[in-house]
Symmetry: C2
């Protein structure tokens, strides 16, 4: 089944809902009201209902959402229902932190390869993933990996992206503080870890 | 001037617009159309106009937005018009990456203190910031720092938050993969660096 014309902002919120659902499940809950879900994720409950309406709505009024069922459906929409293998390029501080981060597994990602250009790092293991020479990026296609995470310095981001595209990568999560240019058929999501701090003062009491 | 009833999703997008404006400014541009801005940030142009309407709207039809003026106004709304000093707790891989990240400065943040409990790290400098013993968190109030970034392991996140609150911190950016409980008057924004990867497969072509 294909869902059409879903706003990008709705798609952006689905993982937030999914994480809250998985968290509630870990607490032993089976159902959650849209109000509780709203409080949990910091989004208005009408927004949640509107987001879910794009997929036909998932809830029963007064009973709330079935956590398991809703999680499965969101995962299917996001195409996270099958484990996805990903590669990481650039094992500096941020790359090492990403490799060790437990959250990717929760969303069904398996970081299965890591690359760096520093000979001292090649062969070392982080979180059981051996760091390979960056020249081995070309093997990704053969290994069936088409998702990559870029954590290289800014100046190397564009050339890294190009090497990844040559190796058949179709989706990139970019942590480098720069914009990457790619053909339209490839999806790049650029993350700025400073961006979330920028809305913090707005919510803080004036002193 | 206080702006009321602005949806949290609008506030969340303002830093995204701000970053795009600063980037356009660096390219030597003086004006930008809502359409170009929309393409740049991946948000619908009607959404951008709606977001700006909460503050009275900033554009002139057909002429686009004045980049400098709009940046100043967004910064004022987000209370980023004065440089804010922040502290970081937990100088592991992620903490080190955050300390070295250039993006915070762009939004008007100065990471002015860093703490860790590892004696081997105390006294070392990263990006010209000396790492202090975690017991020194209590000095933050005196130093006028009321924003903190938490990059400690999950198990230590709650106790770290409590120590920060005791030291007068009012806003926390939490990178630990867990929810932190704080009094209502304190604002916590929790970041999950895996969340953005979770919407990537949705946009990727089926193979």
């Amino acid at each position: 089944m294909r869902y059409r014309k879903i706003p990008s902002e709705t798609i952006r919120r689905l993982p937030i809902y999914l994480r809250a659902l998985m968290f509630s499940k870990d607490l032993g809950k089976e159902r959650i009201s849209s109000r509780d879900l709203a409080e949990f994720v910091g989004v208005n409950s009408w927004q949640i209902r509107k987001d879910f309406s794009y997929f036909g709505g998932f809830g029963t009024p007064g009973v709330g959402y079935n956590i398991e069922k809703l999680s499965v459906q969101i995962k299917r929409i996001l195409k996270l229902d099958v484990v996805k293998r990903a590669a990481l390029v650039g094992v500096g501080n941020l790359g090492s932190a990403v490799l060790a981060y437990p959250g990717f597994k929760m969303f069904g990602f398996n970081i299965a390869a890591a690359f760096d250009n520093n000979p001292k790092k090649i062969g070392r293991k982080i979180n059981n993933i051996a760091i390979e020479n960056i020249s081995k990026i070309s093997t990704l296609k053969k290994r069936g990996i088409n998702i990559a995470i870029i954590t290289v310095p800014r100046d190397a981001a564009q050339s890294t992206a190009e090497a990844l595209l040559k190796a058949g990568v179709k989706g990139i999560l970019n942590f480098s503080p720069c914009y990457i240019t790619v053909p339209r058929k490839v999806k790049v999501i650029t993350i700025d870890i400073a961006m979330d701090l920028a809305r913090l003062p707005y919510y803080m009491p004036a002193c």
